[in-house]
């Protein structure tokens, strides 16, 4: 039977999809923390280093120009030390045709002994020019009265300077642009995020616009300097040149690595689909057997109810209920189960009706078997395989319904799902920015999962229901 199943092309294709997706889910469950959603995904602070709204890294193979990669350099000790001056030097080779999207400077575990040290950042460009991006960091809290030396700062949360929105860096970049011959106001530099263009470009016109710059390729040397007491230290220093491409799946408007969110969506989708389909099928199976076997008023009542549930437009009701009960995974599953059993009941009942009249049931009745015994021993076994196929078929429906609810903003906010990623994409201008990676991948993952189950069902159906065997 398994061989027959795998011999059909749809069965094989469906199985391959589902096995792959299950393996990915197992991998995710084993490697991701369970509170990934609240701790990382919905925490914008965690993603501040990442480039915002950039396509995946492999996009470079499909476009005639080269987009810069994401560049991160961590330093734990200074490159040079002289007396009271410490220097950290980061070399960055820039060889792309487009500009990076930003520069972020971060450090943590700052220890100082007397006054607040003066920390500055400058860039030496390949054309020999130097840009000082800031010459002091005003964001270090000075010693409080009564605090003992050494003063330690930025232990829990690192100090982060996002240069494209930092007033001092913008002012300095504006001055440097003036030197290059491009006259801009600081407001223009800030609003159009021109800083990376000014730092990494040479001007081709004097208009204040991103198009006025062409990339200046070569080696850039970023130099961080700290002047203070000789004992002053920085535990970890990080320089990020944000790329214009990132990772396997790109990033969204908060800089979140979509590959991670999409990976986390695998087990969630399979879990919701599986649990909903299992519960709904169990209910449908039980009610179908009761309805078909007992008959009479009970049958009429169950079938009327199932018939209405099966034909009423359900989405409005699903939306209303989740909205009323609250956006949580449990409620979504509950609502989908409560509204999802009707189809199975109707089909199972019609199968039971034909089994009921068969001779072995008559024989069992004559032998004095109880209803319960007959339902369990004679009705259930022949119905079970088909009910299993129906369960497989119910999974894609449940996955799509969850995605629909999520897309309306009714998903569980503590768990990233594909539907929610799509919703955020739709609400935050993915279409207007042509951020195809943000829309196509989650959507196609939903569709491929659903197709996997539908294909398996198509291959399963003729096996479990010989009447339907195709020619």
């Amino acid at each position: 039977m398994i061989r027959e199943f795998l011999k059909s092309p749809s069965g094989l294709a469906g199985t391959i999809i589902l096995v792959t997706f299950s393996l990915i889910s197992i991998f995710v469950v084993m490697t991701f923390p369970l509170d990934y959603g609240t701790k990382y995904w919905s925490n914008p602070k965690y993603w501040e280093d990442y480039p915002k709204l950039v396509p995946p890294a492999w996009y470079n193979y499909f476009v005639p120009y080269k987009l810069p990669q994401h560049f991160v350099k961590d330093l734990t000790s200074p490159t040079e030390k002289e007396e009271n001056v410490k220097r950290w030097v980061v070399e960055y080779d820039f060889d792309a045709d487009k500009f990076p999207t930003g520069i972020v400077f971060k450090y943590s575990n700052l220890t100082f002994y007397s006054d607040v040290p003066v920390i500055s950042l400058k860039v030496k460009r390949p054309d020999g020019k130097e840009v000082v991006l800031f010459d002091y960091d005003g964001g270090i809290p000075p010693p409080r009265s009564g605090e003992e030396t050494p003063y330690v700062r930025f232990v829990e949360n690192p100090r982060t300077i996002i240069l494209i929105s930092d007033p001092q860096a913008i002012r300095r970049a504006t001055v440097f642009a003036e030197e290059l011959g491009v006259g801009c106001t600081t407001a223009e530099v800030r609003d159009a995020a021109l800083l990376p263009y000014i730092v990494f470009g040479t001007p081709i016109s004097d208009k204040c616009a991103a198009e006025s710059f062409k990339p200046l390729r070569g080696r850039y040397i970023f130099e961080v300097e700290m002047v203070g007491d000789p004992r002053d230290e920085i535990g970890l220093l990080r320089l990020v040149v944000q790329g214009a491409v990132y990772g396997a799946m790109g990033t969204d408007y908060l800089g979140r690595d979509l590959a991670q969110g999409l990976l986390f969506g695998f087990p969630v989708a399979l879990f919701i689909g599986g649990v909903v389909a299992l519960l709904a099928t169990l209910i449908g199976l039980a009610l179908g057997i009761i309805s078909g076997y007992i008959g009479g008023k009970i049958d009429e009542a169950i079938q009327r109810f199932a018939d209405v549930l099966n034909n009423l437009p359900l989405l409005p009701l699903l939306i209303l209920f989740v909205f009323v009960l609250g956006r949580s995974l449990f409620n979504i599953i509950l609502v989908l189960v409560v509204f999802g059993w009707a189809g199975t009941t109707i089909i199972v009942r019609s199968m039971v009706l034909s089994i009921k009249t068969s001779q072995f049931v008559e024989a069992a009745k004559l032998a004095g078997a109880s209803h319960w015994w007959i339902m369990r021993k004679h009705i259930l076994p022949p119905v079970l395989p088909y009910a299993f196929a129906l369960m497989i078929f119910a999974i894609p429906g449940a996955i799509l319904s969850e995605a629909s609810l999520s897309f309306l903003g009714l998903g569980d906010p503590s768990i990233p799902t594909w539907g929610q990623i799509l919703q955020q994409a739709f609400d935050n201008g993915a279409l207007q920015n042509f951020a195809w990676w943000w829309i196509l991948t989650p959507g196609f993952l939903i569709v491929i999962t659903a197709i996997g189950f539908v294909l398996v069902f198509f291959a399963l159906e003729p096996i479990v229901n010989p009447r339907l065997k195709r020619q």
């Binding site: 799509l422 279409l431 042509f434 569709v447 659903a450 020619q471």
Partner: protein, 356 residues
């Protein structure tokens, strides 16, 4: 004939019971979960707040204001019915709906500023009919036509293509296909080459064209992407369902017998295969058309189409209870009427029912 009338009457009564059942169920859910109270309370609080601000601006003294506000609050609570428990309040609402008095919305308004729910529906329903109903009708007719053809040619290449398409229609959410079409056909060409081939959403351009003909063409231009999306998604399933029905009928003994009798193939197809296939196909078509009145909630949102689906969604998010009730009622009513029409059609189409 008398028995026939009786059957129809029983069906009609069952359907009315279903209609009341749905409303009662909704009322119990909204009441028992406390949502109804929550909605009324939020309205009451905002009304009282507004009244208080108004008094404060008039500059009366604090004690008098407090007293007036307290009285106003009591009065409004009584008017809203919040001083009574939900199971006393709801029957009235259900009764009014049953006699087709849809009432007034609390916050939502029609495009000409009316608070009447009947006006809200009149405002949105035509838009939904333009989008959803025509979409379903067009797709279904093409699909059924294709299915009838394939049902007679099982195993052909067209049959295989339709089988694959039908698998796709179980797995493709309409709204996602809409998103992809908007991305690829509306924003793609605009951003990459600067040409607007298809509009990214909405029902008419802003400002709308003055001339009637230009207006119609403009609406059709906006309709093209959603129609295309619904065709992609639903065509396969219509064709495949029809094919299965036709195929299973054509395997029946009476068809073989008709052929064995030597009846011409045309006659076998039209009388012995198509006629018994018709009731189930008609059932799906009529129920889909009835369901289309509720609109595509998500797809209307994706295409920014001001139809019934988006109205229902705004009613939920704005916690506009009367609108939620009225719309659920209207959707169910339309479904019930469709079911009744079907019962009559069965009688007309199926001699077994007519003569029994």
């Amino acid at each position: 004939m008398a028995s026939l009338a009786k059957t129809l009457l029983v069906k009609a009564i069952t359907l009315v019971v279903v209609l009341i059942g749905v409303l009662v169920l909704l009322a119990v859910i909204m009441g028992a979960t406390g949502l109804s109270d929550k909605m009324l309370n939020s309205i009451l609080t905002s009304e009282v707040q507004e009244y208080k601000q108004q008094l404060l601006r008039q500059g009366k003294d604090i004690a008098a204001i407090e007293k007036a506000v307290e009285e106003f609050k009591k009065e409004r609570a009584a008017a809203l019915g919040i001083d009574r428990p939900w199971y006393e309040r709801m029957p009235q609402l259900i009764y009014r709906l049953l006699v087709l008095d849809l009432g007034n919305s609390r916050t939502l308004q029609s495009s000409w500023g009316s608070n009447k729910i009947a006006d809200l529906i009149l405002d949105r329903l035509p838009n939904t009919i333009i989008l959803t109903t025509t979409g379903i009708l067009f797709t279904a007719l093409v699909g059924i036509w294709m299915g009838l053809y394939i049902g007679a040619n099982i195993g052909s290449r067209a049959d295989r293509v339709v089988s694959i398409l039908s698998a796709a229609s179980y797995a493709l959410p309409l709204w996602f296909v809409g998103l992809v079409l908007i991305l690829v056909l509306a924003y793609g060409p605009k951003i990459l080459w600067g040409v607007q081939i298809f509009p990214p959403g909405g029902m008419v351009s802003t400002p709308p064209p003055k001339e009637p003909l230009a207006y119609v063409l403009d609406v059709m231009w906006h309709l093209s992407l959603p129609l295309f999306a619904s065709f992609i998604v639903f065509f396969g399933s219509w064709a495949y369902t029809t094919r299965n029905i036709v195929f299973s009928v054509s395997q029946e003994d009476f068809v073989n017998f008709a052929r064995a009798k030597g009846l011409p193939e045309d006659m076998v197809r039209n009388r012995y295969i198509l006629r018994p296939s018709l009731p189930p196909i008609l059932t799906s078509l009529i129920l889909s058309l009835a369901g289309s009145i509720s609109g595509y909630i998500i797809t209307e949102r994706v295409f920014n189409w001001p139809g019934m689906g988006s109205l229902f969604y705004s009613a939920i998010t704005a916690l506009d209870e009367p609108v939620i009730f009225a719309l659920t009622y209207v959707f169910t009513l339309v479904y019930i009427i469709a079911r009744f029409i079907l019962e009559i059609l069965y009688v007309l189409l199926d001699p077994r029912i007519r003569l029994s």
